[in-house]
Symmetry: C2
Subunit: 412 residues, 2 copies
């Protein structure tokens, strides 16, 4: 039964300071989903000798080896040749592949460059994996009960090929173990406080496995359950998920892949409400996040980035005296921004944000990281004060998250 | 003379779908800068047996092996133990390290947990690398003229340790070869047109090496030269750099690490000018980018995200008739936004952007990707029409880049 895999990523560009092998993240996620763990990853350049060493070791130690890249038509694409040598197989020209590559060029009104014929050379006895998205076919070889799969490097070619030609059979070989994954996204709580609340619940479960990941203003809980069918795995996850959900309640804003701006968008659409934002320290980030969601024009009316005092007065209608008395970073100004932008635009909800994003501009009473957020709706005017740590980017991101969450909570 | 290295990243979290080894990017960049290339990277979990295999192969084949991670105080941190075994060295307790770890805890008013004593166990004959940022010291061993360096996994510990304790000596061992790198960032041109213009120049040079990288609205040119001193390497790069700069002229907006919003900020500050933005399809992205730069409050007055027609009328003072006659996505509205926001805020420059970001909302005359940008200053009112390809995110990013570049060109 297949339980472990190793991945070899091939390409000199993956050994530069500018590029990482990201195909392995996709492969790992898909392999994990059928119960196969990745034990080793190697990244090697377009270097025959080095690749041969690596390939030889890999085939010796692992029952499943997946190699990506190096299947192109140029001289430095050596993957097939090297694996053929390691597995002691001859290379032959596959007429069917050659015909398919030629046809691909014909469809685009071109003649096949001679180089591309190399892509039709395959080691004897390998199963050809079709590549509808490119010219390089993949290959699946089975030397002595082991599995060696060669995939093209470009993600748009690799992903469908793996999904369609590899995953179903690998799932069988892995003994039909299936994984089910549930993600919760929470906000308004730190990673450690969240862990304190749910650790007593999840430590009792070895299956599903619980992982907690934090980013500014957001904590994610990943539950991965393992069963003999997807239904069983789902059931195993659901039991723990229900308990965690009950404990955390509305700290959880998403039970899937949606981000906070999408969730806020759903609520606004559902309630047929509109939103306008007047932001200072977040500088347009809140508007930009909200409008990154397709269709947001149906509920988002206006954003103003009031970076100067005059713009706070002109665009959000804040009385100059308020800024003079309380300062630009104050609860009063946040409230003024929220109410001002709501009245000015006729939106159902008005959101106001002001703060010190740093690195300069802080003082003893108003340090870097101090943020005031206010939300205006009808006669209600809510306010929240935050004291955030970190650099400018982190403070702005965290503040935008808190502001969006204030809208969400108002609409729950 | 050291010319090649291999890197081993250790940690089971690096074999999940959520995490990549990024330390190797830093190490590769630093190693490249002294003329050492990375030939192989391996990522392995906290698994003694697998790590031992990998370490044994690495020490056999490479003159320089750098391993990162697995030096922590817990049971699953096995790096030192495994390398001691591979290099046939005994582990001994180093009193000096033990004392330093204890002192570190004392300074925080804590007693050292028993676990941490493990961090003071080191293989005999290794050179200890100090870790001012953490408890795990690094280690440099030299078995038979080869070099094996063990570094802690957390980047804030690894980076200064490598920079201070490793790089100078490695530079010597690499025979004093020095690399010098020059980056150009260009915009307003596609990758292929840029390459067509500069390929005839750079193909004549094997040293420096030229690499071209593209992202939406930006093309980067990396020149890396190799010499026996930094001066020589710099000279080698400068010769080619000058020719490329002459060819591309003001398509180049940056000769270093600065991004376009920083460059725009420099120009505005230098000319003591102010900017205001009225944006529709970019939804606050332009304001957010400008305000991501520390100190931007001195030149950025106001941004408005005019998502509704009413906000275009109210906030930027566009006559309703213009929207009715030309439509919200039109040269007229872009011009109206630019001029309106400038007059309303008293800024030196007013920038207006409107377009169809998609995926919905396109038509035959006004397809997804159509973007109008206008820039108003005194009596001048410039306008630009773009037809961009790609998804919502790409179109917004590209449009924001083109808008910022319009400001830059006005101020050159």
């Amino acid at each position: 039964m297949l339980q472990h895999a190793e991945i070899i990523a091939i390409g000199s560009e993956l050994l530069t300071p500018d590029r990482l092998d990201t195909n392995s993240l996709f492969l790992t996620e898909r392999l994990n989903s059928i119960g196969i763990e990745v034990e080793l990853k190697t990244i090697v350049g377009d270097n025959e000798e080095r690749l041969e060493q690596v390939a030889r070791e890999a085939v010796k130690r692992s029952a499943l080896v997946i190699a990506t890249g190096g299947l192109g038509p140029t001289e430095d694409d050596v993957t097939k040749k090297v694996f053929a040598r390691v597995l002691k197989r001859q290379m032959v020209l596959d007429d069917q592949i050659l015909e398919r590559i030629k046809a691909r060029f014909r469809r685009r009104g071109l003649e096949m460059p001679a180089n591309n014929a190399r892509q039709a050379l395959v080691p004897v006895g390998g199963r050809i994996l079709d590549n509808p998205a490119g010219t390089a076919p993949g290959l699946w070889m089975e030397p002595e009960g082991r599995h060696v799969i060669l995939l093209p490097g470009p993600p748009p070619e690799l992903k469908p090929m793996f999904e369609e030609c590899c995953l179903p059979r690998l799932a069988e070989l892995a003994g039909g173990v299936r994984l089910f994954k549930q993600v919760f996204k929470a906000t308004g709580i730190t990673e450690s406080s969240l862990d304190e609340r749910i650790a007593p619940i999840y430590v009792k479960y070895k299956n599903p496995v619980t992982t907690i990941l934090a980013s500014p203003g957001e904590v994610q809980i990943h539950l991965t359950g393992r069963g003999r069918s997807e239904e069983e795995a789902r059931k195993i996850v659901t039991e723990l998920a229900d308990k965690i959900e009950f404990e955390l309640g509305d700290l959880i804003f998403s039970r899937g892949e949606e981000n906070l701006e999408q969730i806020v968008g759903y609520y606004l659409m559902m309630r047929e409400m509109t939103l306008a934002v007047a932001e200072s320290c977040t500088g347009g980030l809140v508007a930009q996040r909200i409008t990154s969601v397709p269709g947001s024009s149906s509920y988002f009316l206006t954003g103003v980035t009031c970076y100067s005092n005059r713009s706070k007065i002109d665009l959000a209608g804040i009385p100059p005296l308020v800024i003079e008395m309380s300062g630009a970073v104050s609860a009063e100004v946040a409230k003024g921004l929220a109410e001002g932008i709501r009245l000015k635009t006729g939106a159902t909800l008005g959101l106001g944000i002001t703060g010190v994003a740093g690195p300069a501009g802080g003082s003893v009473e108003k340090p870097v990281g101090l943020v005031h957020i206010a939300l205006s709706m009808d006669s209600s005017l809510d306010h929240q004060e935050l004291r955030l740590a970190g650099d400018r980017e982190r403070i702005r991101l965290w503040a935008s998250q808190a502001a969006l969450d204030m809208v969400r909570r108002k609409l729950i």
